[in-house]
């Protein structure tokens, strides 16, 4: 699971809340009460409307009590992507050729093998725990600190992504309310908890000293944060507006939920 920009989370939270507040001065109070009113109003309309009486489309619903705020953060993310992230990505791709970017990608993926291991273990998926451990050992040694991925290329050991959100889901924890996290994008209460937990645990384990160094607020720390973020954006093919739909938010929300269910079930 992509936990990109984990290092920027606190900053991003501040920026997102600032944006939401700036675009709607009293967003917290006004919108949530407005939501209550509107849904009552619409509920009436809903039941009056004959066509709607048995709505076969209710399965598209995702529990999203914070929708007005989520949508503002979503809008913020879209602008951030357009004016900050994608231009930075353009520069990143210009400076580093594909070969070099592949090395970065393998490197970060190898660091990310740690949560795969302990989360597989937490879910008592012993085979996956062993597989992920072998991948870590092979790629960190033969693959030269993870810069290459011989575990996949030569040994044909496939990667198994597991994160703490999936671990919680595996033991029956529900998704909770849908959340759009600033810059990170779609999530929910369970997976956000997972994100934070993985962040803390990974920093404790501190494989190769990367996560600790990355969390510092010095030049090296910022460079590592940026490199991690750009790598994640590089391999992520989503572009805002790519669905060209006025219901992009709804589609993303539904698909995100389905994808998480799929990942938890497997």
């Amino acid at each position: 699971m992509i936990t990109y920009l984990r290092q920027l989370l606190p900053l991003a939270m501040v920026a997102g809340v600032w944006f939401a507040a700036a675009t709607s001065p009293a967003f917290a109070a006004a919108d949530i009460s407005e939501l209550g009113d509107i849904s009552k109003l619409r509920d009436q309309q809903f039941y009056i409307d004959k066509e709607a009486r048995a709505n076969p489309l209710d399965f598209l619903d995702v529990y999203d009590p914070l929708e007005p705020m989520n949508k503002r953060v979503y809008a913020f993310n879209r602008l951030f992507d357009e004016y900050v992230f994608l231009p930075a990505l353009g520069a990143y791709r210009f400076v580093f050729p594909q070969f070099v970017r592949n090395r970065f990608q393998d490197f970060w993926a190898n660091i990310g093998e740690i949560p795969n291991i302990y989360n597989s273990l937490f879910q008592l998926k012993i085979e996956r725990t062993v597989v992920s451990s072998w991948r870590l050992v092979i790629n960190s040694t033969v693959g030269i600190l993870g810069l290459w991925d011989p575990a996949t290329e030569w040994f044909e050991i496939d990667r198994a992504n597991e994160d703490f959100g999936q671990t919680l889901g595996h033991w029956g924890v529900g998704a909770g309310p849908f959340l759009v996290l600033p810059i990170f994008g779609p999530s929910n209460l369970r997976d956000t908890t997972g994100l934070v937990t993985d962040y803390v645990v990974e920093k404790e384990i501190d494989f190769l000293g990367v996560r600790e160094a990355q969390s510092r607020y010095d030049l090296g720390g910022w460079l590592l944060k940026g490199a991690d973020a750009l790598n994640q954006r590089d391999i992520n093919h989503f572009r805002y507006g790519m669905l060209g739909s006025p219901f992009e938010y709804n589609k993303v929300r539904y698909l995100f939920n389905q994808q998480r269910e799929l990942l938890i079930a497997d």
Binding site: I2, Y4, S24, D31, E34, L35, I38, S39, R42, F46, E51, A52, N55, P56, L57, D58, F59, L60, D61, V62, D64, E67, P68, K71, R72, A75, R78, D158, R159, A160, N161, F184, G185, P186, S187, I235, N236, H237, F238, Y240, G241, M242, G244, S245, P246, F247, E248, Y249, N250, V252, L255, F256, Q258, Q259, R260, E261, L262, L263, A265, D266
Partner: protein, 448 residues
Amino acid sequence: MAIFLRSILLAITSAALLAGCASTPDSPAPSTPVSTDTSGYNYPIKNPYEATVLGTPPADVYKWDNPRKVKKKILTVNLEKDLNDITLAGAYGLADMKLLFARQEGPAPLIFVIAGTGAAYNSPKVLFLLDTFYQAGYHVITISSPTKPPFMAAASSTHMPGLTNYDAEDLYKVMTTALDKVQDDIEITEKYVTGYSLGGIDSAFVGYLDTQRKQINFDKVLMINPPVNLYTSVSNLDALIPEYVKRHPDATGAKLFADVFERVGRYFNESGGGVKFGPETLFEIQKSDQALPTDDVAVLIGISFLFSSADLAFTSDALNHTGWIIPADENYSPVSSQSGYWYKRSLRWRFLDYFDKMVVPWWQERHPGDTQEDIIQKVSLFAIEDYLRNNPSVGVMTNQDDIILGPGDIEYLQSTLGNRAKIYPSGGHCGNMDYKDNVAYMLDFFNN
């Protein structure tokens, strides 16, 4: 954090293949004379619904010997739209009219590619065509379907997509504007236009309009899997869900989707490698124990069409203020409103509802006395029959089992276009577009 889109979208919305057909191409085909002989045609998927959803297995896709890396850039066209519309559109992130442009260094033909219903200038099938014609040595410009919300907001004069004659005017404006923008940078030898599905009929109407306006002067026009009678095509697609429900009276969208996801999940479990989508995945699933029944495949096409129709009806309503979906007295804001409600409300609009309730009144206001039947005639291929019959530069490539065609449509194409109609025995709707024989035919059509 949206890698998820790529994977799940592949599973479900690749049913959305109404919009696109995909692959990678090869050297200018062995130059066979244009003929309608299709004996020895071995496209592997015989079921038209599966073909429509799955496309061509990667091994059978047209291959180029030394494919070059396609250098393409986004071309933004500004058409001086009504500010109010742009503001509303801007709220959805739909305000820009974007095209893709790939250029050759030396003199070369320029081809415009028009996307199918609900598909964008950068959708998989459009990218496949862009790549094909780029490898063949053409300059390429791709355009979203006029039914795509960003086109409706930024380039449509009517906001009533589907009326092919009006859509052709909008497309023509986009094309001439784009041409102005690029023609100093490139050397153009000839000009072509093509499109698949709705984009196929669009390209013919654009070609016809061009014979009157003469601003572009197209040398060749190729329709790929176009509708003949637009009403027949949308009726066929609209009917997929009701027909499914007739056969499965207790079916619900929730159950169907749960079933699809469950099968996909079980497939990945059985294959043991975790959740990973590749070009082969859908074919592998269909070969496995978890293969979706044909019925389910067909209804996925219907659902995908329903989703496109909902986007279209909602956007048209929001831009034209018809009051059908958003009540006239509703203070609608894209950001603060409960989008789920509006989405579900829009999803109750089948394409024919859009036609009956929004399009017909709009048309009749402008053409008093026209009946529904008149409108259908004027936006279908019959309206430009003489142009199709007498113009040797216009061709069509489609399939006997295309699910958007009705009885008599194939015969109509054959009698109107003669040997310029290439009809393959299988392939469904656009499923064989990237099959080796089909690509060879397309290249042959334009090259010779």
